[in-house]
């Protein structure tokens, strides 16, 4: 009985550790595809700064910020002005999707980088 209980505890601990990784991997692929199709990667590099900040820079900026997800979703859908390195401002491109789950997935992926 004790042995069985210990086994169950061990398996559930492992599951808790492994499952989030699996779900995160699936999200990443879908998010990358969405980013590529919407030309996000033309301005935002995944590992280097281009015309816009790199995704990991964005993630670092919003680390620990509870409002980060909502802010970023708003940024992608509202067309609010974005400042460019050469000084000019321009409305940020509005993402071409109305699927809230897809949008949340993308923002979560960016914030996880």
């Amino acid at each position: 009985m004790k042995v069985i209980f210990k086994c169950i505890c061990a398996i559930s601990c492992l599951a808790v550790l492994v499952l989030p990784e699996i779900s995160q991997a699936m999200d990443a692929e879908a998010a990358k595809i969405l980013a590529k199709h919407n030309n996000c990667l033309l301005c935002h590099g995944t590992d280097r700064e281009k015309v816009g900040p790199a995704f990991h820079q964005i993630a670092a900026k919003y680390k620990g910020n509870a409002q980060a997800e909502a802010k970023l979703i708003n940024h992608l859908t509202s067309g609010e002005p974005a400042k460019f390195p050469d000084g000019h401002t321009q409305p940020h491109m509005i993402i071409n999707t109305t699927d809230k789950a897809e949008l949340k997935n993308l923002v979560d992926w960016i914030l996880s980088l």
Binding site: N39, C43, K50
Partner: protein
């Protein structure tokens, strides 16, 4: 044997010392060899007959190089370096993460950087200074000067798109481009050709008909009929008969007339024949439809109806064609009627394209 701590420590120190000294000796040997290489006497590079030096700060040509001078100057670098630097204006954003293929251009002839004749991004897409600078007042970044495919921006006018290609690709097969059927119908070069991909479908004989058939649906349907040129079989392509870039002949045929085009393969129909059949020498499409037909061989209508479009009467022409062509055939006492011969004109009149026989006035032999 008792293994004391002191013995252990001593052996570890000795091992470490010997390893360290071996390593440092190896390094010293390598360093000495390196120095020897660096200070070996290399003869000074002589300027070539053209007068230009072949060295630059970063790229030292081997001393005994007999390679031609590619116009490299110390300030700018090699043509490949110049080209790459110029392209980074665009590829700093339009890189491998682009949704549409961009960098695959470098796998094509248009991407040979070392040749100063090949175009850079801005050679075809225009300097696009507005696109590079952005515009605070606009809702999005202004379009480049020339947009070839509709994407984030509408495509440029067909004439402008074709002009970019024409700076290099003119003359030859494209002599008749201006005013040709495709050009007059607002079709530009990149509507058929793919530049940024190493596979340009229209330049592959097996894939080419597929591109033509995106617009020419009737011809695509025809190629699936019973009698057809072997296009589906991959043995013929549209460009075997047609020149899509413009032609002096009708229907964008390669040669000046229909008959000339067909004779490039069907030379036996050219003649000259002793007895000719006039619609044959005039235009093959009087009887045939080249893309496909359910009447073998590629006929527009069946005999006898086809023949009766010109030859009316109980049995076609009343007047013999040639001096030796008279007489009754097939044991009949008068001119046989078409019904008598089972409506199979070609059963007797076999040499329908023309006859070289002295007795072939009726094209029977």
């Amino acid at each position: 044997m008792k293994f004391s701590l002191r013995t252990l420590l001593l052996s570890v120190c000795l091992t470490g010392a010997s390893l360290y000294s071996a390593g440092s000796m190896a390094e010293a040997t390598a360093a000495m060899q390196g120095e020897a290489l660096a200070t070996s006497s290399v003869p000074a590079v002589q300027p070539d007959a053209g007068g230009a030096s072949v060295t630059s700060p970063d790229l030292k040509m081997p001393a005994a190089s007999k390679l031609p001078d590619m116009g490299e100057t110390p300030a700018l670098g090699s043509p490949a370096q110049i080209r790459t630097k110029r392209d980074t204006v665009c590829t700093r954003c339009h890189d491998e993460n682009s949704a549409t293929p961009v960098l695959s251009l470098y796998q094509t002839a248009h991407g040979v950087k070392a040749d100063p004749r090949t175009p850079a991004c801005q050679s075809c897409h225009g300097e696009s200074l507005k696109h590079l600078a952005g515009d605070s007042g606009a809702s999005k970044r202004p379009a480049p000067d020339v947009v070839f495919k509709k994407g984030a921006y509408p495509a440029s006018d067909a004439h402008l798109r074709s002009e970019q290609c024409e700076t290099c690709h003119k003359g030859g097969n494209r002599t008749h481009w201006l005013g040709s059927q495709h050009e007059s119908n607002q079709i530009a070069c990149n509507d058929c050709h793919t530049n940024h991909s190493p596979v340009d479908k229209v330049r592959d004989r097996k894939l080419q008909p597929g591109v033509c058939f995106t617009c020419h649906k009737e011809q695509q349907a025809d190629t699936h009929k019973i009698s057809t040129h072997p296009i589906d079989a991959g043995k013929m392509a549209c460009s075997d008969c047609h020149n899509p870039h413009g032609s002096a002949g009708p229907k964008l045929l390669k040669k000046n007339t229909v008959v000339e085009t067909c004779y490039t393969c069907h030379a036996e129909k050219r003649g000259p024949f002793l007895f000719e059949h006039q619609p044959v020498t005039e235009d093959c499409t009087n009887c045939h439809t080249p893309h496909g037909s359910n009447i073998s061989p590629l006929l527009k209508t069946r005999p006898p109806f086809m023949c009766q479009e010109c030859h009316d009467g109980t049995h076609a022409s009343g007047t013999p064609v040639g001096p030796n062509a008279g007489g009754n055939q097939a044991g009949l006492t008068s001119n046989p009627s078409a019904n008598n011969v089972g409506a199979g004109c070609l059963n007797c009149h076999r040499q329908i394209h023309g006859s070289n026989s002295p007795a072939g006035g009726y094209l029977q032999r």
